[in-house]
């Protein structure tokens, strides 16, 4: 049961993030919602890679008496998470800079008022 807590957290975080993106009208809050969803997915990836008592797979720095490769942790989920974090930062930076430009042109961050495109 205790090991399922991270997975429940993931589900809750995704729901919170989606709620913020769908029902909040402030563009900055939408960006925050997106970041929360992204963190949830990252948490999910990291949780998948967890192994009780496992050690990092650095061959030059192993404690003695470790069975190779049974007691080592597969580094793929961590690699995926790192990539995903980097991409997430780029997306967030782009989104915030677009918000700044929208604020300059429209004078507001309310998504209901930013709709010059709607015919």
């Amino acid at each position: 049961m205790i090991y399922s807590i991270p997975f429940y957290t993931v589900i809750i975080l995704i729901l919170v993030g989606m709620y913020a993106m769908i029902f909040r009208r402030n563009l900055i809050k939408m960006a925050i919602g997106l970041t929360i969803v992204e963190s949830a997915v990252n948490l999910f990836l990291v949780t998948l890679g967890y192994r009780e008592g496992g050690v990092a797979p650095i061959y030059t720095n192993l404690p003695s008496g470790i069975k190779i490769p049974e007691e080592m942790v597969l580094p793929v989920p961590q690699a995926l998470t790192l990539t995903s974090i980097v991409i997430g930062v780029a997306i967030l930076a782009l989104m915030l800079s677009l918000s700044i430009m929208i604020y300059r042109h429209y004078g507001t961050l309310d998504s209901k008022k930013v709709r010059r495109l709607k015919e």
Partner: protein, 518 residues
């Protein structure tokens, strides 16, 4: 140079060349404007030649495998492991077919941009981002690895967003880009979550290895729903189409033409997931039926929304949604029939129609967006009510527009007719109502483009304008050439290019065997 060496390494080179060129572009930009323009066009032409070179070999019946970082690119499974661990590029007929579309559209748009994009606003960065879009598309189309697919999807998203907001001195461009970014990043997170769900069960990221292990358990079903929803959202299918008209209408016209190809890269990913990843384990009539319903809705809603539009690019964007419906319908019928005996007769025909329509649509819709850009270049407006009489002065643009409009409406000598006919015939055998709706949509499309042609080009001469610069005409001519070529020889194209692509998509076993069994 040794052609065998080039052929073996071309899958990696196709992705690496524009990536390196993109980041060299700011350096070349500092030398002179002319050097930058020449560099950009040369890179795009070399890219096109490389893709066609590889395509010639792949359509000859050899799918290419390239393992990144391995001493021998053909050893997909390392000696110490039992499954593919490295990133594997898998180029089969379907992947290289899509790569041809991307490279051609980017070449045409690149030539067109020489005159279309003004010098004052960082054209060096414009070409950098254009090449990055090309990298994203080609990466998605050639990769055989789920996580790599996600990374290239994000590269594509970031580059597209920046270029949609290129005219950031107007508020609506930024607004369209923001919508695109929100939708794309949610879609990408869905994809990543689905990849994590699959990884959790099978410890695999390679698509072919996943396809051989997949069980269609409940978690797989959740992953499938996430993947289908995300890619359908990215390719602009109804009911997730709201970003399409906004983003397409505010982007510069050359970028809109590329965005069409970028949406199709997502469409390709959708088909790849359904056919090659899940394949026969799917509940085919449900998923195929869902694709058919997406297709019908997109076709009908797209065209009916297009009819009343006054903004020329918004109108064309709704038509892009409607045409995406044809592809979903054609390939959806194929998926619906995949394991049934009818597949070998008309199921494969439906898929050929849908896949042929992808390349046709990229060409004629790209051309139409470029002509709308030509009109915008001279008149500085997208509003149809302020146009008129342009046929007097912009003769070439008018001719290109007619060719594009007739092709999209499916009038016989042009390429749209060939693919639509294949879809009508095959869909009629499944249910006549599908064909009737498809034909009705085609007629409405014609009506809508007659309206555009009349209000933009016909009538007395109101505006005193000249023809657009030669490089813009050259960009449009590239796409027109392909349209006429495909319209004149549809039998050859279907037999030699489209049929192998459809076959590659349908045969999951061959896709798996190329990586694991080889």
């Amino acid at each position: 140079m040794n052609t065998d060496w080039l052929l073996q390494h071309s899958p990696a080179l196709i992705i690496a060349l524009p990536l390196l060129a993109a980041f060299l572009m700011p350096v070349v930009d500092r030398i002179s404007r002319k050097a930058r323009n020449v560099f950009a066009i040369i890179v795009l032409i070399v890219e096109e030649i490389l893709v066609l070179f590889l395509a010639y070999d792949v359509f000859g019946g050899n799918p290419h495998i390239y393992t990144m970082g391995a001493a021998n690119p053909l050893t997909t499974v390392p000696a110490q492991a039992a499954v593919p661990i490295r990133i594997v590029l898998e180029v089969d007929a379907m992947g290289i077919f899509m790569a041809m579309i991307s490279a051609t559209v980017c070449l045409a748009a690149g030539i067109y941009s020489l005159a279309f994009i003004g010098e004052e606003k960082g054209k060096g960065k414009y070409y950098t981002l254009l090449l990055l879009i090309l990298v994203g598309m080609l990466g998605m189309e050639l990769t055989g690895d789920m996580f790599n697919l996600f990374v290239f999807l994000e590269v594509l998203t970031i580059a597209c967003t920046a270029l949609i907001a290129y005219r950031s001195n107007t508020g609506d461009a930024v607004e369209g880009a923001f919508k695109f970014l929100i939708i794309s990043s949610i879609a990408a997170l869905f994809v990543l979550f689905a990849i994590a769900l699959l990884y959790a069960q099978y410890d695999l990221l390679n698509m072919a290895a996943l396809a051989s292990a997949i069980q269609y358990s409940n978690l797989d079903k959740i992953a499938l729903v996430l993947l289908v929803a995300a890619f359908a959202m990215k390719c602009g299918s109804v009911p997730m189409h709201f970003w399409t008209p906004d983003a397409y209408s505010v982007a510069p016209a050359s970028i809109t033409a590329i965005l069409v190809a970028a949406s199709q890269a997502s469409l390709y990913a959708l088909f790849r997931v359904c056919f090659s990843l899940y394949g026969v384990t799917l509940n085919l009539s449900t998923i195929g039926g869902a694709l058919i319903i997406f297709g019908l809705l997109s076709m009908f809603v797209g065209v009916t929304m297009a009819l009343p539009q006054k903004d020329i690019k918004r109108l064309m964007a709704y038509h892009a949604i409607s045409q995406t419906g044809y592809m979903l319908l054609g390939v959806g019928v194929g998926l619906y029939l995949l394991t049934k005996p009818e597949f070998s007769t008309y199921g494969i025909k439906a898929m050929e129609g849908g896949i042929f329509h992808i390349i046709n649509h990229a060409m004629y819709k790209g051309l139409l967006f470029l002509t709308s850009g030509a009109i915008f270049y001279r008149l500085k407006t997208r509003n149809l009510n302020e146009m008129g009489g342009l046929g007097h002065s912009m003769k070439w643009t008018a001719i290109f527009f007619i060719i594009g409009a007739l092709a999209i409406a499916g009038i016989p000598p042009f390429n749209g007719f060939a693919s639509k006919l294949l879809i009508y015939e095959a869909a009629y055998k499944v249910s006549p109502i599908l064909s009737i709706i498809a034909m009705l949509v085609s007629i409405l499309t014609l009506a809508s483009f007659v309206k555009v042609f009349h209000s933009a080009f016909m009538g007395p001469k109101i505006h005193d304008v000249e023809e657009v610069p030669r490089s813009m005409l050259a960009g449009m001519a590239v796409l027109t050439f392909v349209i006429i070529l495909f319209g004149l020889f549809p039998g050859w194209v279907v037999g030699n290019i489209v049929h192998p692509a459809a076959q590659a998509l349908a045969e999951q076993a061959a896709y798996i065997q190329a990586v694991i069994g080889g």
